[in-house]
Symmetry: none
Subunit: 271 residues, 2 copies
DNA sequence: GCCCCACGTTGCACATGACGCAACGGGGCG
DNA sequence: CGCCCCGTTGCGTCATGTGCAACGTGGGGC
């Protein structure tokens, strides 16, 4: 789609780190950028947002005020700062309700979480990283991190490896630009990763222990659509001390069964 | 804040269900309304959105296109229709990262404690029993026990019953291993408990009087997350002589309102 | 304790950018 | 084959979003 927009008169004085994403409707574009800024910073004041956006304070204020009226942004009590609001959760809920994968997966994830006692995640490929679509915390997991909506590196997670393992060679090359290390267990050598991905493809599941975070372990299995493409990955994760290799072997059959059942519900292998 | 824009020439032919929420920045306001429309409908075409919004087709199109560039909206393949995009999940992830049941609940619990005069508790399911997350003592509570951090049997408390009532059958079976009696009012017959849980689910709240301790009464209501899962339970508890059935009926609306408001803050979209 | 700065917030006037219009292309159905 | 309805796009106009300046306030430093 061609950029139809003439350049703006002004010379973009700001450091706004323009994503290059020009919007069709300027004010809306700015407003949405505000959301992204808040997502990144967690909490920002009007002045800060304005500077980041390269617009006048008052402009930023009106954008934020409008967002606030829709509940997408709220101001933290007392202080004048702003942060993302819960309206986003409702919208996101509507989003995932619409994604058949998530909807079909939910009961299975729940059951799997109950059966394994650990946290179950569902992830898909999105823009060069793993996007976590859903998470069901296991009974023994309290206050475990919520990954939903997060973009997670592909080469350091079990879900990521599954998603990579069935990728076309051409796409794979693009995605594997850099392989940063997060712990000293992270696989950073391209050859080693390639080899592991092959193994993952053969055995039908992947594992990652202490590779993204020390103390975090997970196993994952592929989810296929009606065409047989791997469109998502389901994982069981927990603390390394609890999710030992032996325990992994115990929960693996449950995981594989759940992932297969989900694939089945999405039309794989039918007919 | 006064509505500053003049009405459009047109007489709002649509059923746009104007929330009365005027925005400060019109186009942003409209764009966000588009998100809400899509959240409600699941999938809409430009024309439909335009009609719903009371604007021209082309206007709606540009709004949608801008939303699309930020990933908040995507067009379903083939058909020209639009739906909410995964970008929302990313934003929501940033939201829920800082979202904590206890933290969100605190002001509500306080208010409820003040309004009811009794002690308010917040509990969740953890490893086969109820884990008390927070407690706000009411003004008339003298030296009442502090339950925070305690594991309490599920079948003998109002919170426990709420947490059980919405549990999957499979999990429920596991949890209900033994039903020890703590007083002679404790429900120990599995059939009776099952029946009560069904009633709890229907009426949307639970009660327990003298079932865990003689002289201790409580009513509880469910707290839901964005998916509608019951993730916690909020209760009002006090001495049986004060929290009579009549008094319970008085505080129940307050409790239900608080629990619903909390659910709302956690992203539950009512209904 | 005082002052001063910096922040969030609001009224106003201008010109910019968002809007409605009308026309195009294409896909599905009769 | 032709109709109709959809999403999409160039254009001219004016509504509307914007920058400016001023206000109130709260907190930090001197």
């Amino acid at each position: 789609m061609p950029l139809r927009h003439t350049v703006y008169g002004r010379a973009m004085s700001n450091a706004a780190a323009e994503t290059g994403s020009g919007g069709s409707v300027q004010s809306v574009d700015r407003a949405l950028t505000v959301l992204e800024i808040l997502a990144r910073s967690g909490e920002s004041g009007v002045t800060e947002i304005a500077a980041d956006l390269g617009v006048h304070k008052s402009t930023a204020f009106r954008l934020v005020a409008t967002l606030e009226q829709h509940g997408l942004v709220e101001q933290v009590e007392g202080r004048g700062k702003y942060r993302l609001g819960v309206g986003l959760l409702r919208l996101a809920g509507a989003t995932s309700a619409r994604l058949d994968v998530v909807q079909e997966a939910r009961p299975l994830c729940k059951q799997l979480a109950a059966g394994s006692g650990e946290t179950v995640n569902l992830a898909t490929l999105s823009g060069g990283s793993a996007l976590y679509l859903d998470q069901v915390a296991g009974p023994s997991a309290l206050g475990s991190h919520n990954w939903v909506g997060q973009h997670i590196p592909l080469h350091a997670t079990s879900n990521g490896k599954v998603l990579l393992a069935w990728l076309d060679e051409s796409v794979l090359k693009e995605v594997l630009g850099r392989l940063p290390a997060y712990t000293d267990r992270t696989v950073t050598a391209r050859a080693a990763l390639r080899k592991e991905l092959q193994q993952v493809q053969q055995q039908g599941w992947a594992a990652a222990v202490d590779e993204l975070e020390v103390g975090l372990a997970a196993v994952a299995a592929p989810v296929r659509n009606a065409h047989g493409d791997v469109i998502a990955s389901m994982s069981i994760s927990g603390p390394t001390f609890r999710l030992t290799v032996a325990r992994q072997a115990e929960v693996l059959p449950l995981l594989l069964e759940a992932a297969e059942e989900l694939s089945h519900r999405l039309g794989w292998g039918r007919r």
